[in-house]
Structure formats: C-alpha cells, structure tokens
C-alpha cells in the first residue's frame, strides 16, 4: 500500500519532468539554450520512471532487479556526451571559426572547421 503511493509519486514527478523537457524543446528561444531542456529535464524524467519500475518489481517479485539501474546509469552517462556532440554540431554549422576560443593545444584547429578556410572568411 505504501509502495503504491511511492510508485505513484515517482511516476507523477517523472511525467511532469518529461513534459517540461519536451515543452522546453519547443519553447526555448535559441539553439544553445534549447539544448538544456531535453538533455537534463527529460533524462531526469526517464530516471524517475525507471526508479518507479524498480520499486514496482521489488513489490511484485520481492527481489531487486538491476536492469533498470543499468538503463538509468547508461542514460545518465549518455546524456552529457550527446549534449556535447550536438553542441559541437551547432558550433560547427552556425559559428565562424574566428569567433571560437582557441583549442587548448597550440597549433591545432577545431575538428569540425577543418577544410572550411575559404568559407570562414
């Protein structure tokens, strides 16, 4: 009975966060701010659903299953990497190379901008 309320609360919170993430993707004004909502709020929403599922199957079977924890861990590891790559794509497509800060290593250039000498000036 108490488990039911815990699962229900987790599901409602998770659904709210998922909806906020998807709504933010529609509403936020420009490309870099738009990156925030799906990669943070939606990931948190999915994490909530997976924890709710873990508690649910603990109540049904009596044993903890670690499948959900594995999916949660994978998603939480994957979301920042995805956000980083999409940000790189946005920078490559919409920001000229002279507006970017220099890479940490001397004498190197940003990967996406290689071969764009003629178009960047």
């Amino acid at each position: 009975m108490i488990l039911d309320y815990v699962i229900a609360a987790l599901l409602v919170i998770a659904g709210f966060f998922g909806l906020v993430g998807s709504f933010g993707l529609l509403k936020l004004p420009d490309q870099m701010t738009r990156l925030h909502a799906p990669t943070k709020a939606t990931t948190l929403g999915v994490g909530g659903v997976l924890i709710a599922s873990m508690v649910y199957f603990f109540g049904v079977a009596g044993t903890l299953s670690f499948h959900e924890l594995m999916i949660t861990l994978f998603l939480f590891l994957a979301a920042p990497i995805t956000a980083f790559f999409i940000a790189r794509v946005q920078l490559r497509n919409h920001v000229a190379e002279r507006d970017l800060p220099n890479p940490a290593r001397e004498g190197t250039r940003w990967a996406g901008h290689l071969g764009q000498d003629s178009s960047s000036d």
Binding site: A14, G18, L19, L35, V46, L50, S53, I71, G112
Partner: protein
C-alpha cells in the same frame, strides 16, 4: 487504483512530449535541432516502454528499453560525428 491513475498520467505526459518532439522535428530548420529532437524522442520512447512493462506486469520489456537506449545513443553520436568529420570510423 492510484497506481493505474499514475501510470495513465505518466504515459499521457510522455506521449504528449513525443508529439511535441515530432512537431519540433518537422518544424526545425537546422540539422543540430533535428538531431536533438530525434534524441529526445528516443528518451521519451524508453520511458513509454518501461511504463508499458509496468502496466502489464512483465519484465520482458527491459531488454527492449536497453537496446533502444544503446541504439539511440550510438546513432546520435554517429550522425554528429558524420557531420563533424565527414566519416564515422576513421
């Protein structure tokens, strides 16, 4: 009883989110935005699969969710790398 309502609420939220992502995917004009919309759709679909598994009380769907998570991550990274580098495996 309360669990049924919560499941319906969460499924409605994630389904609405999926529709919003689809709408944004159709309307977005840059490649990065389209990749972002597709990645968010994958995350929402994982949540829907897990909710479906809870509603039917089976654990069969976890493998499907895990596969979806892996394929979504790999395809997003591969598409971004293709745009950044021009090829995927160097």
């Amino acid at each position: 009883m309360i669990l049924t309502y919560a499941l319906v609420f969460a499924a409605t939220c994630f389904g609405l989110g999926l529709l919003m992502n689809l709408w944004f995917l159709v309307r977005a004009d840059s490649t990065g935005d389209k990749i972002l919309a597709l990645d968010t759709m994958v995350v929402n679909i994982i949540a829907l699969i897990v909710i479906y598994g809870m509603a039917f009380g089976t654990g069969v769907f976890f493998e499907a969710a895990m596969l979806f998570a892996m394929m979504g991550f790999i395809s997003t990274v591969a598409y971004c790398r293709y745009i950044l580098r021009g090829n995927i495996i160097e």
